[in-house]
């Protein structure tokens, strides 16, 4: 069931969504059992920014019907901290590493892309232009021209596959997708979380420290399927589909809608090994499909 994704050979089509699995923390919790039963065919790291970030003030989570809303705010060690402390550990994982980056300007993104381009441990780069918690991310990914300018700026800086992660919080997602492809993106990933909000029942004020958050989980699955389908109509490059995947059947749906790979995110919070289970269920479904 191996899959070729932008020239990277993967043992199955299931990876993780950026920011939904920390392999280093998971290794502390589960020990080497994690590495022996690693659930994903490639590991996508949490967003790296140029400078370290503490993230948003808590509370950061709110449970919604059939899902979760989060306002985490991209906490990370920054580029230098990541290169020094995280990259050596993540490079030792049994699967290819995809690094997700975000900048507050095109120059910042360019700096990050150039820095990771030199690292042989990194198999591909994913541009976060869609995080709804950080203003600039939303602006870049919500507009086709902004997206194209960003991709055109960083495309010449790396020979590694460049994935653009699209935001669903845009008026015309296929138009942004086509602009990213035209500007040189090798692949697209979608959907990121949908912007939402919850009020503290005791005070009537916003519950999340970041005021608004991103909704994920099965609550958004139908939206993800529609967006992947719509984007697949207008681009040729491979698509990483995600949004509320809980089973092999959900993954098969996204592949049917046009995805090459499928990412598992929120379901890993309920079961850390969910990615491996989804991959097995998908393999069984595909094996039983009469061509």
């Amino acid at each position: 069931m191996t899959v070729d994704f932008c020239g990277i050979e993967l043992v199955h089509p299931i990876i993780n969504g950026s920011g939904t699995f920390d392999a280093i923390a998971a290794h502390r919790a589960f020990g080497d059992d994690l590495l022996e039963r690693f659930p994903f065919a490639a590991f996508v790291s949490k967003t790296v920014t140029l400078e370290p970030r503490q993230g948003n003030p808590p509370p950061r989570l709110w449970e919604v019907a059939g899902g979760l809303m989060n306002s985490i705010g991209l906490p990370n060690k920054g580029l230098d901290g990541y290169l020094e402390r995280d990259l050596p550990t993540l490079a030792a994982l049994p699967v290819p590493l995809i690094v997700n980056v975000m900048g507050f300007s095109r120059d910042e993104v360019a700096h990050l892309v150039a820095a990771f381009s030199e690292r042989p441990e990194v198999s591909a780069l994913e541009l976060n232009v869609s995080c709804p918690n950080v203003e600039t991310g939303l602006v870049m990914g919500a507009d086709p021209d902004e997206t194209a300018r960003l991709v055109r700026r960083v495309r010449p800086l790396t020979g590694k596959p460049l994935i653009v992660k699209l935001t669903p919080n845009a008026s015309d997602v296929p138009k942004v997708a086509a602009a990213a492809e035209d500007a040189g993106a090798d692949a697209l990933s979608l959907i990121n979380t949908l912007r939402g909000m919850a009020l503290d029942p005791r005070t009537g004020k916003p519950w999340l420290g970041g005021v608004t958050g991103g909704v994920s989980g099965p609550a958004v699955r139908a939206i993800a399927l529609a967006q992947v389908h719509a984007v697949a109509q207008v681009v040729e490059v491979p698509i990483v589909g995600m949004g509320g995947v809980q089973s092999g059947r959900d993954a098969q749906d996204l592949i049917g809608a046009g995805a090459t790979l499928v990412a598992v995110g929120t379901e890993s919070f309920r079961d850390p090994a969910a990615g491996g289970r989804v991959a097995l269920e998908l393999a069984e479904l595909l094996a039983n499909t009469v061509v």
Binding site: G19, A25, A29, G209
Partner: protein
Amino acid sequence: MTRVTAPFGRRTATVTARDEHGAYVALRCHDPGGPTPRAGQFYMLASAERWGGGDGERPFLPRAFSVLRARAGELQFLIEDVGPGTNRLSELGPGDGLAIVGPLGNGFAAPRENRLPLLVGGGVGIAPLVIWQDELGGEATALLGFRDQPHALGAALLTAATVATDDGSVGHHGLVTELLEDELDARGDEVEVYACGPPLMLEAVRELCSRHQVPAQLALESGMACGFGACFGCVVPTIDGYVRLCVDGPVLDAAKLDTALVAGAGH
């Protein structure tokens, strides 16, 4: 070593008994696939069947619970029905499946400098103190605070506990931290405090221990989605910045905290 690593992934344990302790339910379950946890470690719990469809179409995520008691192949958890997750869990009975991930996080560490352990618990937060008293040999002094008599029945889970209730129906009429202050005044230089309970209680414990220069280990609570460091949702502020309670806690040294008031906890 205050951490035992968990088998990777979720597994199903089988509920073998449901014991009522006043306002609380202790679920006993058979977990042949798991290791014996350390006191203060926790598990993410969900019912194997019908998890969801409660109030507000919740629960969706598993819920974090400190282990109440453990021995080879058997785990116990203390549940108070306060929301859609705990409501569903408190319905479970013998033969029902309990989906678990764990043990997770760091447990309590042994007292420093030959100090005597002094356990301080509030409400359902007494749970990790029960297993810790077991590990310490059943002799540790315990001060426990509860809302009222039905909740105070939980005190029977510990040996020789001194109880305070908000309404005065059992034991001292007032706060458990008033009992703690008397203890610290009398023998603060001999004890190390281990505390778990609601945020206001923990903050009062932290402040008292800081003022009396008594070392303290606090088992905190924060809303958690995953329990293994993936979601970054459960952070609490420390003197070193935010830390994830699930992988760097839930037991934290009180000296690392400027406050034990965790935003969103107890909701």
